[in-house]
């Protein structure tokens, strides 16, 4: 156990760095628990309405781009990989590798937001964004086999925009955190003994990835069976 004087990162009220690191990690895990519930409210709405309005949800889901959704999932998985590798690089004390991996993570994050933004723009152009100009009459023509009320697809798109929007907000926050951490890493603030911020931020990033892992099938893959 190291004394206070030896560890500049050790805050005064902790006895030692182990206690400090454990506190930070437990704090982040509880925060992620909170985040699960934060998305949970929308998932509850999703579940209730999907049960009630399945055809409307299926039609809305089919109007989303399967390719964009799949690519975005892959992009996020790549970013999770780079985060995991970044934590490893910090454990090994490889500063340059660490900085590069953090930059790669942010790059993937920006890519994700770019693709997402493109999709949103597309939906807005088609009047599928749940604003005052919402109109989903085209879904009726595109899905002749689905018996649905196009008015009610607005619920699907509302949930879609709310869920992906809140998720994107988390991505933006994540990118913000990572830019600070990248700067700190570049300045050589982290050592194999002290890299808690990277671990903590990594947990957050992985969590945001996991949310998307669920959003992808729940929003994009509701019913894509041919002929149905």
């Amino acid at each position: 156990m190291l004394e206070h004087e030896d560890r500049p990162e050790l805050r005064h009220h902790f006895a030692d760095v182990v206690q400090q690191r454990n506190a930070a990690s437990l704090g982040m895990w509880w925060f992620l628990g909170t985040e699960i519930m934060f998305f949970g409210g929308m998932f509850c709405g999703y579940l209730v309405y999907r049960r009630a309005y399945f055809p409307e949800f299926a039609a809305g889901s089919r109007s989303l781009s399967l390719v964009a959704g799949t690519v975005n999932t892959a992009v996020l998985i790549c970013s999770s990989l780079t985060v995991a590798l970044a934590v490893r690089a910090s454990q090994l004390g490889k500063r340059k590798l660490l900085v590069n991996l953090l930059l790669a993570t942010m790059f993937f994050g920006v890519c994700f937001l770019g693709i997402k933004g493109y999709e949103w723009h597309d939906e807005y152009e088609h009047h599928h964004a749940p604003t005052f100009y919402f109109n989903a009459q085209d879904l009726v023509h595109n899905n002749p086999n689905l018996h649905m009320d196009p008015q009610r697809t607005k619920i699907f798109f509302s949930l879609y925009f709310a869920l992906t929007g809140v998720h994107a907000l988390h991505m933006i926050v994540g990118i913000g955190i990572f830019s600070v951490i990248t700067f700190m890493a570049w300045r050589g603030k982290f050592t194999p003994e002290y890299h808690t911020p990277i671990e903590i931020a990594g947990l957050y990033w992985h969590f945001v990835d996991i949310v998307w892992i669920y959003l992808f099938p729940l929003l994009y893959l509701i019913d894509r069976r041919p002929g149905a």
Binding site: A23, G27, M37, F38, P130, Q151, K154, V166
Partner: protein
């Protein structure tokens, strides 16, 4: 020469606004929630004055609707929820477990700033015209019909939620990670146990109301359509999500108050708390079962018959741990050595009023009876018995109990007892008539009402004015005591908690030396009796 303590360690506004000391942050919270308490109390007074006569004559209907809405929202979100946790919990939890501070001091400060930003936004909302949805924000009224500042109010409550989440996060991690050597879970003061349970509710419940209100705000601003019945949306879904948080939120308000009572009763009975394990476990049980009962607010809202049966059953279940607590406190007094100091008087008041509040809760859990009394003054009386009779009594008791520790001064005991008595009498006069007028059928949120209900409303208003005096008194004499009060010894009550083992007021890092705990909680048999002369002034 005065000893260095957290109050005189540094001077200047900067040293307060940038402090990371949990005790100073607690005082910042104390000031801000007191401000909101009196703003909310002002609206309560307006409500009571309007209801003095059956006709709507004092103010317009819209003004009245805004008054009860803002009374509710301010009292719930800006006073009761942060009251005991953010003031007493913040001040005491680190000391009670022998830590120098909470686990995340800067996040603690951040949570106060978030509270202030939210509070500012709410005051802005109030100043620009206010909001009239009722504190419950029921859709579609809030999302499509109200012409008032729902967006600002919704966002303010959304933001203040994060303050509450961060406080809860800090408490949970602190209790897990920062306990002094020897401070095992079975030696934790019950105050800490209750706050631990409270924090879990804050962490797992608050995000739900945050997202729900955000959806309402988006429905108003961007025309999202999740609760819009004309698009197939279900307004009742909003109620499910709202009450998933807002019922457990009642336990956020009452559990910390129970925490205070669990400290006061053993101290002034000079006895160990009866059934420590059960009192501790009942806190956790309340937090857990409290999440399973929310739809008892919706028995007439159009939910399914079967789901109503399930929720009614579970609502009875949550009454058990609350009853266990009351029984244990009462049993603690058995063969004790009881003194009638001000905190103990508040504790008596709490036990009595919470018993009535809890028992009338059974009426609301009983399906057939709830159909009649739901949304009447019976409900108003019930939850005021719990939240004002319970939570606020506990808060005032706690403030008096720890005032010597917080301020380093004794409050005037005689005035303290008088105020406790006035609060108790005023409270009962205000709210007991509401049970009767509620059963007679007077609906809540009525600006004008049939004349046969007037007698009870006049009684209620009379009680409210007495209650107001009861609440103003402590503010006056506590402020007075800051300057003229007797200097407090380190442990005026000869209480057992670790917070009494340090000086009054405590030094910045609480203890000069990290304490090592070798004793069980509430070993009052080892403590001498407090010096009566100190207590009686």
């Amino acid at each position: 020469m005065e000893r260095k303590n957290y109050l005189n360690a540094e001077y200047g506004i900067r040293s307060w606004l940038l402090t990371t000391d949990h005790k100073r942050i607690a005082l910042l919270y104390l000031l801000s929630i007191t401000f909101f308490f009196f703003v909310g109390g002002f609206f309560a007074l307006l409500i009571r004055l309007e209801l003095l006569t059956p006709a709507g004559d004092l103010m317009t209907a819209d003004m009245y609707n805004k008054a009860f809405t803002m009374h509710g929202q301010i009292m719930v979100f800006f006073f009761l929820i942060p009251s005991i946790p953010a003031v007493l919990g913040n001040f005491l939890i680190p000391m009670m477990i022998g830590a120098k501070d909470l686990a995340f001091p800067r996040i603690n400060l951040l949570s106060w700033y978030i509270y202030i930003i939210a509070g500012g936004l709410y005051i802005y909302c109030l100043a620009t015209g206010g909001v009239d949805t009722g504190w419950t924000f029921y859709t579609p009224y809030s999302s499509l019909f109200s012409n008032t500042h729902v967006v600002e109010a919704g966002l303010a409550i959304f933001i203040v939620g994060f303050s509450s989440i961060l406080t809860g996060l800090n408490f949970v991690v602190t209790v897990h990670r920062m306990r002094a050597p020897g401070m095992t879970w079975s030696r934790l003061p019950l105050f800490v146990w209750s706050h631990y349970a409270t924090s879990i509710i804050m962490l797992l419940g608050t995000p739900i109301i945050a997202i729900t209100l955000l959806l309402v705000v988006l429905e108003r601003t961007l025309n999202l359509g999740i609760f819009d019945p004309s698009r197939g949306g279900d307004p009742v879904l909003f109620q499910h999500l709202f009450w998933f948080y807002s019922h457990p939120a009642v336990y956020i308000m009452i559990l910390p108050s129970m925490a205070v009572i669990s400290e006061i009763v053993p101290c002034f009975s000079r006895k160990r708390v009866f059934g420590y394990t059960f009192v501790a476990a009942s806190s956790i049980a309340i937090a857990a079962i409290g999440f399973l009962v929310w739809a008892h607010h919706m028995f007439v809202a159009g939910i399914s018959l079967y789901s109503a049966l399930v929720f009614s059953f579970l609502s009875f279940m949550v009454a058990i741990p609350s009853a266990v607590k009351v029984f244990n406190w009462t049993a603690t007094m058995y063969k004790g050595s009881i003194s009638f100091s001000t905190p103990m008087l508040y504790a008596f008041g709490f036990i009595g009023l919470f018993t009535i509040g809890g028992l009338t809760g059974l009426f609301l859990a009983t399906l057939g009876v709830d159909v009649h009394v739901h949304d009447t003054y019976f409900v108003i009386a019930h939850f005021h018995y719990v939240m004002v009779g319970g939570a606020v009594m506990g808060y005032l008791g706690g403030i008096h109990f720890w005032w010597p520790k917080i301020s380093g001064r004794m409050y005037p005991e005689g005035w303290g007892r008088l105020a406790a008595l006035i609060v108790f009498l005023g409270f009962n006069l205000t709210f007991f008539p509401q049970f009767i007028v509620g059963y007679l059928g007077m609906p809540r949120r009525y600006w004008q009402y049939p004349p046969e209900f007037q007698v009870y409303n006049v009684l209620s208003t009379a009680g409210a004015s007495i209650l107001a005096i009861g609440y103003l008194l402590p503010m006056v004499y506590l402020l007075w005591s800051l300057r003229y009060g007797k200097l407090a010894p380190d442990n005026p009550w000869q209480a057992t908690g670790l917070e009494w083992k340090t000086t009054s007021p405590p030094p910045t890092f609480n203890f000069d030396e990290t304490p090592v705990v070798t004793w069980e909680a509430y070993e009052y048999e080892t403590m001498p009796l407090p010096d009566e002369v100190t207590l009686e002034r």
